[in-house]
Symmetry: C2
Subunit: 363 residues, 2 copies
């Protein structure tokens, strides 16, 4: 058994995990299904009330003309970029070097769509206006991920986002949002989702991050764009005879949680502050701008792990289930705050951080 499996087990057995909503069990789907009548007709290849109504409500929420439900963001985003490339007749896009399409999709964009990506910015910082100003002329689409997950969920200032959007419109470069965590940033920006989306030509949102659904994504934009996306959805094998297990659960958990994003954001700031007061720890961002952040630790995963396990056992608090090495003597982990954080016994949490601080000073 690897080291990480032991930490994961201790985390899974902890009474009070700090991150997320709940365990990913079949209960999540059963609960969502209880909200609908058993006689509700399933969707058939993208048609039927159960999918069309949800698409229409999401289009309105995002302030776009139309929206299409996809089984995954991987599929939705490749298709969005393909449509913009075809429209400009140029197989070139631009995105961050740690973009989901670059590091998590086995090069689907290149292997299936033959689209090349210009990587903007360094791996440890956001794309800035001056990066965008350097874009090749033949770039069909710029993808911005809000927040930029792989660097802790950072966000540009809203004014910079507006400037990037204006620049792209002027140059005829389409702007696509990887909004996997769009709902989660509305409290920081103090903007509605529709206001943020108005800066973009196309938007993808996910239903299993802050929303906590089972799986599924929405791709939104003008009707001509979304109609074309349905053709590509069929080609990708994503136009399933029935997607209702995902649309119903996405709808249910969206209604339940989209109003709690401020709470998750406040929770993230609270927890990050506790880490930043702890010896050897710092968070990125220093103050979170969404429900997520990264925790960097200046000891190795091997040194930290037994300390964490004993803290979980002593307090019941579960801080993380994994540690990823950044060097021989440092590591990091990701935290996303959900429903669980509010109900956490704060005295136990304080005790866990006191133990962690003391342990770190001993390492």
């Amino acid at each position: 058994m690897s080291t990480n499996q032991t930490l994961l087990q201790a985390f899974q057995q902890a009474s009070y995990p700090v991150a997320g909503h709940s365990k990913r069990t079949v209960q999540e789907l059963k609960r969502a299904l209880e909200s609908v009548d058993a006689n509700l007709a399933g969707d058939m290849y993208g048609t039927g009330h159960v999918i069309e109504d949800f698409q229409a409500r999401m289009a309105a929420y995002l302030g776009k003309e139309s929206a299409v439900f996809f089984p995954s963001g991987t599929m939705a985003q490749q298709i969005a970029l393909r449509i913009w490339c075809d429209q400009k007749n140029s197989p070139k896009v631009a995105y961050h070097p740690l973009c989901h399409l670059e590091i998590h999709e086995k090069d689907g964009l290149k292997e299936l769509h033959h689209i090349e990506a210009q990587l903007l910015a360094d791996t440890d910082r956001l794309i800035r206006l001056d990066d965008v100003e350097q874009l090749d002329e033949n770039v069909a689409c710029l993808l911005l991920e809000l927040p930029q997950r792989e660097i802790g969920g950072q966000l540009p200032d809203y004014s910079e986002l507006e400037a990037i959007s204006a620049f792209c419109r002027e140059r005829g470069i389409k702007l696509h949002m990887d909004g996997a965590r769009l709902f989660e940033i509305t409290p920081y920006y103090q903007k509605t989702a529709a206001e943020i989306c108005s800066l973009f030509d196309s938007v993808y949102v996910s239903f299993y991050k802050g929303i906590g659904g089972i799986a599924g994504a929405i791709l939104a934009g003008e009707s001509e764009f979304t109609e074309t996306s349905k053709v590509w959805k069929r080609r990708h094998g994503g136009d399933l005879i029935s997607l209702y297990p995902y649309t119903i659960s996405s709808d249910y958990y969206f209604e339940q949680r989209v109003g709690r994003m401020q709470q998750y954001y406040e929770g993230a700031k609270d927890l990050a502050s506790r880490y930043n007061q702890c010896y050897g720890f710092r968070t990125i961002p220093a103050e979170p701008v969404s429900n997520m952040f990264h925790v960097h630790v200046n000891v190795s995963a091997e040194e930290l792990e037994p300390q964490l396990i004993s803290i979980y056992e002593a307090t019941g608090i579960g801080l993380t289930g994994n540690l990823r090495p950044t060097s021989e003597s440092s590591c990091y982990f990701e935290v996303s705050i959900g429903d669980r954080y509010t109900d956490l016994p704060k005295s136990k949490l304080m005790e866990a951080f006191q133990l962690l601080d003391a342990a770190m000073k001993q390492i």
Copy 2:
């Protein structure tokens, strides 16, 4: 309202629809979920008991080394053909002109994989050994659909299938099975699924035809093949964080119905015989070889439709929800037998066919 919508409505309101298992409602998913504990952990990106156990059992059932669950057959089959083309370094496959990939997938195979297909046989007949013997040398893979759905679900003699398989192996052409309705043909061939699959290098099966699940597919073959298919599944956007709504329902309805294929086959033969005794009707095949067949009628859809509606209203029997024109004075429809046929009041069914025969003689 179009003519077909009226017929569809009358069919949906009929007390005794002859085809299928039940209406496609959320109840089907709820029932399947009742069979599992709410605390069962969901799958995560293709890992976890809930998906791995089902894959292992399906691999064993199909007599293959390994199996991977896919959200759709469209995705699974494009990927199978891509793998065989890459292995031979030739972007060429062969299949029937009415193959699913040719007519129902918006040219995904061409648009995403740049694979060209040699079309074998005429649209109204099966691929024969002598067609296969004409195959171009650079064809990487031959796809056979068993049964050939778009021509009524016809099947070659098993000996011809064996000869095609032997020829392909000798020539280094991979043989892939579109087994969307594989379970449904085992009674006619008097073979196990594994015996039939042994003639093929790769096999796709579906869980929402005779099995009656919500959606989903299995792709099976040697481990090297299925491991590569997982990479392409990720690229296609099919490696969802959780596929358990489909794996659980596929598993549940597979266990419930795979043993009823003889019953569905007998039902199809019984119903086809009733049509063939009716004036102006004939079925393809004349005697079904699975649970499905096509019904061809030598009057126009416009003439037949009001007759059907009045028969549904008089007897409660619903024969079909749609009619597709084949000429100005002929039409056809497809029938797939499932759970419903057994419990049908046979006196009502007899009455419906007496009325149909009489009506047809008047047209």
